[in-house]
Symmetry: C5
Subunit: 355 residues, 5 copies
């Protein structure tokens, strides 16, 4: 992810501002456009084969959701943008995937960017930028590639489940953002599990030298998730306080609900951050404890056998006159002395709780 | 608790917003409803056998407290909510036990969620979500399961002790929240005792390798308590500054009192947090001190006996001509030299304060 | 102090709010009431034998200071409070000694609580709660027990020194609080000395294993002092910005002076906090340095004598044919070689600055 | 850079305020002045040979960009400043290169200072102060020396690419600042790469003793970059909120874009800072791990061979009566015992995972 | 400095507020008063022999600067204060040298206190309190003792250099404060140099056990400087935002300039603080690295010679039947084996990069 981001900077630097450049990596992405057009009584769902088909929905009375996958198709996005009257800076932000979550108000539409996070097969977090245009009776969404978290919203439109069909396009916007935020809970849940795994690993004494690296990786992952999620609070808070007529009073209660969820997610992330710092502390502690144990073994072995070896060395000397050497039971007495020393040492270390 | 929370997320994700789903674990909880109806002169206390019995209390002039235990009974809660005119988002929050303490104002009632903390037998902190609906002449409370901290309030109603009987329903709300906050003091008291125990353990040299784990567990517990308590300050502060007619001017003084208590609790928690960090520091210090001691024993043993062994080795050599070997008193002189060396070493280490 | 606080919580929990309960430990404290009544020209000073004698002072034109020691005399305090028209929550706060410094405005009086800190004989900080009631022409003070910091104020009233006699009761309040804050400077001075002592102890190499514990104790003491002093800034700041007619414009300048002092004290405390953290760092460093020294001694001894012992071992072997053994000067040559090795090692370690 | 800064202080201290003194180091810099004069239809580009040639552009209807390199030419700057009516404090700030990014509003122009950061050949960050004067139809820029990041802007003027030719001078200001901010992305990209390099170095076990020094250097570099970039956010934010008529409404959207970029850069820098702290942690961990490994080798060697040597020492004693010595197979049995001990030790250490 | 401060507290405690007490240590300081009286065309400079001579300047049309050194001369200061109508709290603050930088507005004058920092011969920072009274056409300054940083201002008055002679007294105030702030740059420059010296010391391996103490001393010095400088920002900011007629609009630009300088100084100080923390980290790292090196030497020596000594011990045994002993070339073969072992070990340690 870091690499991608860096490259995306490079592609931009030195360009005239306002130039549309897709800064992501999925250059060969096929263009995919789907359109939902619905009101309380009916709905239609189409995959559009070219961008011009999307123009007709702008002025229908029914609500429309046009979802476009494939930000590398600059031309089509520009065409769509021109038809829907979007500012060129908006289009630029749509295709520049290194945006920070933000909201910009324009005369007849709202522009919202956020990060959709989900787990790709495995445990890699995929961070995909999604842009929303909320107009009078339509919502446009732009995604980098296929695969999203909106399936439940599609189902609700199809089956007329919940309120989505009889409320306005701002409710659709809410439903889509809510789907994104719901997935944030999945993200932090897995992060929490990972932290618990590390703890178990460290306390069970199985921490290897890679552990410290893996903890760092997790810390960075949390930093990245944090960076994707935290600014969104500000965005939602601004929607709440908004007096733009595109957002109806009765929908604001729903956005407040999202806001509450985001605060919950944020608090969890900050707790995880603190726990990660603690993990490093604990890891250091286990290393020190292990070293302590190593040192104890060394000290015990050396403290017991070095004096004994010294005694053996004494009676290995070749002096002509060492009286003990001639005495018949010297050897056995010496063994006795040594065993006493040995046992004494053991008792001493036992008392020091080193054994 | 962590596990529960995670699961609660899972149950929600992908659902249409506004769907009532109980996210806790106590699925088999029996429904329990009690109703207190009282004014200055009389009171009645009933256990209701079905939810419809609770409808009558809405428009009585007397004050009513309806307490419902068992959030898994979605149907009944929905019925009650419909009768008391509650917004479906409120009902959703009531049964979703992963709420953050918060207050929401609606046209004719206030909705407050907070966390009731108490010790289950033993030292496990039970965190149970309690929701309050404050209406004109009634208070509704929703608890996940049996067991609460409201017994003293019930007694005061029964015995007409204190002001609760002749003041309005907002005072009842105050009394209930005050009971919750009073128990927070118990919580932090036990946390404080635990910290002191750890300190004693560490300084008495009894810290085992589990100590670091236990400290981490305590740190996490404090983080969780903090998370349950801190947002409540904001809630109470908003009640204080409120100009809602449901909260009377003279009751606000009492809420200010709760606010003061919450600040006290919060300050204690933050002091505990800092002390926990210090505990880890101290633990590291004791580990280092222990290692120092181990190293000293090793160094003393090795420094004394390795040179002596060398000397013994010298006279164990088999050279044909070593003059000292023939001299009669060599062996005894050597012992003298060795003892002098030994004692010299001891004095040296004594002076270095290693002994 | 911690223990006291905890107990004080316990006594309260589960009580009806508004019940007067003394939460301190000095149950057997004798009641002591003194009254100063003065104006520009005269003053009287009495020890009152019962609480009713204090009632007469309420409506005199002269200024009155009534000081009551002994918070366990609930009854008397209640009687006094009723006469001076105090809210029952105020009385409750007066006798509950776990208050945080705060100010509450009531219709015809101000209620201020703060912590008086002074050194008992020895170096233990005594923290005593003092409550002030500022009325039109009187100040009431409530202390837990005998012994306070107000002697200089009494003297000024007695001797008509300074402005206290010809200014209003708000100036008396100022003089009393100023006396309390002046003693805070003593507190932080002693704390500063303690920190310096620890530094000297650590750097002189005399730090024992208790040092870490003592530093922690000091850290906690600073945290407690901080907690007693910091909220007072807010209190004084609110007095300053007050438009209550009880505080005259010309007295506000004096409260601003107190505020300046509190900022100074607070800054010192925060500097001490940072220095305490540094002390722990330094202590860890000295431990590491000591271990380094221990290791060096071991390494030097082992590195010098292990190789020499090996050489001696070689010529202690019993092979039938070891040519060197027969040569007459072998033994002396070997000694030469060993001495060269020994000196070489010494030079090597000297160069490494281990000696 | 630090040295330069310090010197620059020295040159100033003790001078009358308002004296123009160039505080940088490039004293021998040649004066270079270039002027772009353009409108929608045409443009001219000249290198001016003396400062007076720049006067004519002030009142043309076309837009003008005058860029001056060489702040040591105090005289010329003073002359230009007088003609363009600049406050002497502005001129003083232009030549004093230790400015913090800031914006000052004057009656008929805006004065903006910021830091241009780019990589000199190699990886040294060059920090050069650039001052902007935005007037009605002109922009003046002052740089310390040759070499800047504005080449892309020059090209856009020359080729009438983008909007720069038909928009006002405030858009030119935007384009220039945007070019500076674009290069910040390059800076943080390289910083990010360096951090990754350090991580690889540390985890691959190649960290030398210089690593810690290099990490510190990087930390300081990040601090410096931070200090150059962070205040600029405030500057741009003030431009955005400006109601100065020099900045047109439609240009403000573009400045908001810069602001978004600066927030992105700032967030990255703060993440890098946190990662740098982690790097030091990890480095400490690897040191401890290495020491652990060293100790294990020592302990294994000593624990295996010291007891064996002791046994050999036993049978090297010269007692007249040691029964085992006479038995024919003693030597071989002893070897057996020793091998068993050796293997036993190996198994023991294997089980402890030290091998 | 710490000692002085502490004493200064003591002298005050228990005194009636408003009593003038000099809290510094320079009791025997001679009184020195100088008066500058100037306007655009002329100036006079006198050393006054008694305080009454200063009274005449109050109502002249020309601007006057009266500078008084020697705060122990309470009487004279009181006399001067009475004549210039100063509040007794102001006079008290003038002679109490433990003030925090602050500004107080009175009806017809401004009172400003700040800390003048300069290096006494050597590298000790002298912190002297300077008080400023800005009146309609005069500035009074009070210093503790001789020696100040105002020489350049005196010169500018004498030589009519810069604007000081033809602008009002507020500009004189600016010039004096500017001189003080300019010296702050010298202070932080020397602090920066000290930090660099420590770094060099630590990285060159010359850090002794005193290094940690010296770093702590520097840290405390920085904390003190911080405390002297930081509050001044607030003071200057309040002058800027002032609508007091004593400060003219055109002078405010100059104060904004001082403000910018203070921000620069503050930022540097905060960077130094962070670098000091890093220094301690690095110092710990070097200690650990050294210990690592010591351990490696020990391990290498022990690992090589302990096994060899064991082998020698084997053939020093006195078993009657050890076949190798009789073989003629055994001794030489054994040497070969030992050399192979020795070299093998060296290669092993080389590969582990311990050599």
């Amino acid at each position: 992810m870091a690499k991608t981001r860096n490259n995306s900077y490079k592609k931009k630097a030195g360009q005239a501002p306002g130039t549309l450049i897709y800064t992501g990596e999925k250059q060969s992405q096929k263009l995919f456009i789907e359109a939902f057009d619905y009101d309380e009584n009916q709905y239609t769902e189409n995959e559009l084969s070219n961008i011009e088909e999307a123009f007709g929905f702008k002025h229908t009375n029914s609500k429309t959701w046009i979802n476009l996958n494939g930000l590398n198709h600059i031309k089509d996005i520009e065409t769509l943008g021109k038809h829907y009257n979007l500012h060129h800076l908006v289009l630029e932000d749509v295709v520049n995937i290194s945006q920070r979550p933000k909201i910009d108000e324009y005369e007849d539409y709202l522009f919202i960017v956020l990060k959709m996070l989900y787990y790709d097969k495995g445990e890699t977090i995929v961070s995909e930028q999604v842009s929303f245009i909320l107009g009078k009776s339509y919502v446009l969404t732009f995604q980098e590639s296929e695969g999203d978290v909106f399936e439940s919203v599609r189902d609700r439109i199809r089956m007329a489940k919940g309120r989505v069909r009889y409320m306005e396009s701002d409710y659709l916007l809410y439903a889509l953002i809510d789907a994104v935020v719901d997935y944030y809970f999945n993200i932090i849940e897995v992060l929490g599990d990972k932290i618990e795994d590390f703890e178990t690993e460290i306390f069970s004494g199985n921490a290897s030298e890679d552990t410290s690296k893996n903890i760092q990786d997790l810390k960075r992952e949390i930093l990245r998730v944090r960076r994707a999620i935290f600014p969104l609070r500000e965005v939602i808070s601004r929607i709440e306080k908004n007096d733009n007529e595109l957002i109806q009073q009765k929908t604001i209660t729903y956005f407040r609900d999202i806001y509450d969820h985001l605060i919950q997610v944020s608090e969890n992330i900050d707790i995880y951050r603190e726990m990660i710092w603690s993990l490093m502390d604990m890891y250091m502690t286990t290393i020190s404890n292990k070293m302590n144990e190593v040192m104890k073994v060394l000290t015990i072995m050396a403290s017991i056998f070095i004096p004994l070896t010294f005694i053996a060395g004494i009676y290995g000397m070749n002096f002509d006159y060492i009286p003990e050497l001639q005495y018949k039971y010297s050897y056995f007495i010496l063994w006795g002395v040594m065993i006493v020393l040995f046992v004494g040492m053991l008792i001493y270390f036992k008392k020091k709780k080193w054994l």
